[in-house]
Symmetry: C2
Subunit: 285 residues, 2 copies
């Protein structure tokens, strides 16, 4: 049996009781460690579980899935996923491969950023589709997300923007030379995301949003040191929110008064917040 | 301190380790029991926690919040919420009242139907706004949800429909006579939801969807006996999916091939599924 177990958002104690029971008795335990991260390291998980955990990087999952699944017809194999197994990313390939091999799959759900973002005070009902923001480079600044945001903006819905992480990436040179040397991990910040959004708007000039559009930055959702900041995109582009992971929500114009009151509490600057708000937001619009 | 603790979706073991630790040492533990239900009863939770749990119905939360919060400036008060505390419903009033009383609030996130619905194989990225379906009566068939669904349909996104539950409701007669006698609980089924959706379409005649539109019915998401069924709304209007809770997803036309393959596996009828699919769905549309 393959068990996909969600770890939740913050630390080792966010696993569910059911999930922990399975981890303790499983034959092997893998930790998916390339699409998201927990705010504690693998050693802390191992100490908490009282057993070893095998880190599964992209390479292992994509080319070594049969190693992961070996013996899964008789024994319990656990694949730990940060957040919810069906949350921001799915592991369809692994499940399909298990199905081909006649190995049953079970899932233990957990909190995901897709629902955890409710901690901002914004109603989950009022979110449109979720988009992802990747790190721009000098020559690659993909803006397809902008079209999705526009669709949400036209209806007046909030947009959750999930921010890129780069873990165990090789430089082009090291890749070319076949050296298994990896760059330090990088996690996009709220400030980088806001700056990139403004860069796209400047490029596309279609007025989907602008420097005065309101947004919420969320850091370390679900952790004791969770941090929330609201403000204009211009303000958020310079905000400092500390350690990863970060997410951003672009505010939809159909914001309810209760939502406004909640997010105004943690505004960078209540004056600019109010000035922007009256110009473009409110449930009656 | 007020702790809002998510219970997850299925049974007593879906609480997180962190949540359970707080429950065990708290002064008082309330269970919010009117906007959603866990698939096990209060006695099972009490046995698992080794302590009493106080059921908090709508009346207590709305008029007795000061009783719930009493002593919360010094002691730990727990308010258990099925799913995630910020999921399908929020308890803003209780949090705001706590804030007024100078009582700090902490949240323990958990799985919510808003992310758990990913178990259908539909990508959470491709969902638009969520809508709610209430029980229609002879004279009250609210259709504002239909306008929200249209917005999602126009973009091509999936719509999660959350289904009404009626717990501890009084008949008009009992209410008028002040008798605290309650009707048996009612939980909307996938079949009822599909039938009501078709009733609205017949009434409004705006072609947002129709009897041949594809949808997914999900019952007891996250539980061992979770059940998924896909088919046309006409088919789902007669499907039998057993015990609550149920949810429904109306398929958006922007469905990806991988999503189609996944949901086709559990189609009521693969022939009618394919016939409907080719007429209106596919990522390239």
């Amino acid at each position: 049996m393959l068990h996909l177990i969600g770890l939740g958002l913050a630390d080792e104690t966010d696993i569910t009781v059911r999930g922990l029971e399975i981890v303790k008795r499983a034959e092997r335990v893998y930790l998916e460690a390339y699409t998201s991260i927990l705010l504690v390291d693998k050693e802390k998980l191992e100490a908490f579980y009282g057993r070893p955990v095998i880190e599964a990087d992209r390479e292992l999952v994509e080319t070594g899935s049969d190693d992961i699944l070996a013996g899964g017809d008789k024994a319990d194999i656990v694949f730990l996923v940060v957040g919810d197994p069906f949350g921001a990313t799915t592991h369809t390939d692994l499940v399909l491969r298990a199905r081909e091999l006649g190995i049953e799959t079970k899932v233990v759900p957990n909190a995901s950023i897709m629902s955890g973002i409710g901690c901002t005070g914004l109603q989950l009902y009022n979110f449109g589709q979720t988009v992802s923001m990747v790190f721009f480079t000098e020559t690659w600044k993909p803006s397809s997300y902008y079209d999705r945001v526009r669709e949400n903006v036209q209806i007046g819905l909030h947009t959750l923007v999930l921010l890129d992480i780069k873990v165990k990436e090789q430089s082009l040179e090291n890749m070319a030379r076949g050296r298994r040397i990896f760059e330090p991990p990088r996690y996009m910040t709220v400030a980088q995301c806001a700056a990139q959004m403004l860069e796209t708007e400047e490029e596309r000039q279609e007025g989907v949003y602008g420097p005065d559009s309101l947004a919420v930055g969320a850091a370390r959702v679900g952790a004791a040191n969770q941090q929330l900041v609201s403000g204009t995109l211009k303000e958020l582009a310079t905000v400092e929110m500390g350690a990863p992971l970060h997410s951003l929500v672009l505010l939809g114009r159909r914001t309810h008064d209760l939502e406004r009151d909640y997010i105004r509490e943690y505004a960078v600057n209540k004056e600019t917040f109010d000035a922007s708000y009256v110009k473009g937001y409110g449930a009656s619009l």
